[in-house]
């Protein structure tokens, strides 16, 4: 346990009377890629925010390295700064611009250095946000559903990019997602969180690079979906975990019938 990067012990978080995190324990080893799966409101974002230092738990211990960076679901680039200005913002020293340039080159944006965020595509903006995190040389990278707003093709490219960056920079990664396939493609270990408790931890030992047609993939998916509480019969083929009927979708047929 000497190389433990994240150590969370007995963490709880109360919002009013709601228990968002309920006695959570979590360890992430150095260089480990952990995916955290859960439905909306399961507490997964609250856990990430407490690791990022953006939220203070009501109880428990959170030990994280100071060298940690977050990439959010939205790129959160400053719209009035170009890509490279966004990446170098807050860096000290006279090599800042140079570092920012090479970070952007690493994520494949060397041709968009001076573009304003408004002109970047969703995938480009998210890559710039990644470069902004990487340029600060983090030991721990916290990813809060960073691919959720991207189209399927862009998401696949981002998966490959994240995997290669993770290897090259020896990062510890905590990826929050509601996409079971994404977790199996990328993570060493997938955790399932539900109502503020981590209810399952599943080791994913498929050889990399992984793909959906790999032997063992379907078994892991069934296992994870089972842990989340979704059985195969509830699911159309190959979709994400969050396909429980929502209030909107149950209301929809009625409104169509009225129209």
């Amino acid at each position: 346990m000497k190389n433990r990067m994240v150590n969370v012990r007995g963490v709880s978080r109360l919002f009013g009377k709601t228990l968002a995190l309920d006695n959570v324990n979590l360890g992430i080893e150095s260089g480990e890629f952990v995916a955290l799966l859960g439905r909306s409101g399961s507490g997964k974002s609250t856990l990430l925010r407490s690791l990022a230092g953006l939220d203070t738990p009501s109880a428990g211990i959170v030990q994280v390295p100071n060298e940690r960076m977050v990439v959010f679901q939205e790129p959160r680039l400053l719209p009035w700064k170009t890509a490279i200005q966004n990446v170098e913002l807050g860096l000290r020293g006279n090599r800042a611009t140079e570092l920012a340039r090479s970070a952007l080159a690493e994520v494949g944006l060397e041709h968009r250095l001076h573009a304003y965020p408004a002109t970047l595509s969703g995938g480009e903006a998210q890559r710039a946000a990644l470069a902004r995190a990487l340029v600060r040389d983090p030991k721990l990278l916290l990813l809060d559903e960073p691919f959720a707003a991207l189209d399927a093709l862009t998401r696949m490219r981002m998966h490959a990019l994240i995997e290669s960056l993770w290897k090259r920079h020896h990062l510890s990664v905590l990826l929050i997602t509601h996409d079971v396939d994404e977790a199996i493609l990328l993570a060493d270990r997938a955790l399932v969180i539900d109502r503020g408790r981590i209810i399952a931890s599943i080791i994913i030992d498929l050889p990399r690079p992984r793909e959906l047609s790999q032997p063992g993939f379907l078994f892991l998916r069934k296992q994870l979906l089972g842990a989340i509480g979704v059985t195969d019969t509830q699911l159309p083929k190959s979709t994400a975990a969050d396909s429980q009927p929502t209030p909107e979708s149950t209301v929809l047929p009625r409104s169509i019938a009225m129209a």
């Binding site: 959160r76 913002l89 304003y116 002109t119």
Partner: protein, 278 residues
């Protein structure tokens, strides 16, 4: 970037795409035509004696007076005096309104101390303060500049304050994640985020300051456009009054162009400008 539904359909309606542009061009002609027609009517009305010269001066006479006033340099002199009053008043308003908005926008204490009195003061009709300003500041330059500053300060304060409070909290959170200092947060995140709103205030203030100046310059002034017009009124020089009005209209246009230019430079990152440039 407009997609018109008929153009997507494979039918003879494709000729429709020409018709709107023709119609738009002819409409533009109409736009220029109607003011010209009005001007012509005005001239005809005056020349034929339908409009008495005591009611309104003819356009030709207005042009003649304009030439006369510029020839002896009187108009330029008055214009410069007015411009410098607006410039001084606006500078004070920018410094004061900007400073107060920063204090109350960036700190809760500042908000408690500053915001309530500002909200109360802004409802006062500035023109009703003219007697006070004369009692306090005399009849020289000071009350005129002070009135302009007093009127222009509120739009600047209000818009910058609400611009600061309206900055996206997600960006502020990001600044925390990447470890920006408070100074850097204000400089790189909060002020640029508040700028678009604040520029609306600047535009509004510039408009107001001219308005107030006309009134201020009609009290014990010996120079300025307002004085020129006041003087013209005393001598029933309707032609000069019209010249004064035209100057104000022209200045309004110039101010608008200036602020638009500023917006294009300072807000080059905005999607509307970025797309227009592409």
């Amino acid at each position: 970037m407009q997609i018109s539904a008929p153009a997507l359909l494979d039918d003879p309606a494709s000729s429709l795409s020409i018709a709107p542009s023709l119609r738009r061009r002819s409409r533009q002609w109409l736009r220029a035509l109607s003011p010209l027609a009005l001007l012509a009517l005005w001239q005809i009305g005056c020349s034929s004696g339908l409009i008495s010269s005591r009611t309104l001066a003819a356009p030709s006479q207005v042009i003649a007076s304009f030439m006369e006033l510029t020839a002896d340099g009187a108009l330029q002199h008055h214009l410069l005096v007015s411009l410098s009053r607006v410039a001084k008043g606006m500078s004070i308003a920018l410094a004061l309104g900007g400073g107060l908005a920063l204090l109350s926008g960036l700190s809760r204490t500042g908000e408690y101390v500053i915001d309530a009195p500002m909200q109360m003061l802004r409802t006062l009709p500035v023109l009703a303060l003219i007697p006070f300003f004369i009692i306090w500041f005399g009849i020289g330059e000071v009350p005129k500049v002070a009135l302009v500053a007093m009127a222009a300060v509120f739009p600047i304060y209000l818009t910058l304050y609400s611009g600061i409070r309206g900055v996206d909290p997600k960006l502020v959170e990001l600044a925390k994640v990447i470890g920006l200092s408070r100074g850097a947060l204000i400089r790189h995140v909060i002020l640029p985020g508040a700028l678009p709103t604040a520029l609306v205030g600047v535009r509004y203030s510039l408009g107001i300051s001219w308005l107030i100046l006309v009134a201020a310059e009609q009290v014990n002034a010996t120079s300025g456009i307002g004085y020129l017009m006041n003087d013209a009124r005393d001598f029933m020089r309707i032609d000069i009054l019209v010249v004064g009005l035209l100057i104000y209209a022209f200045l309004g246009l110039v101010v608008d162009i200036l602020v638009r230019w500023l917006e294009r430079r300072l807000l080059a990152w905005r999607p509307s400008f970025v797309n227009a440039a592409a």
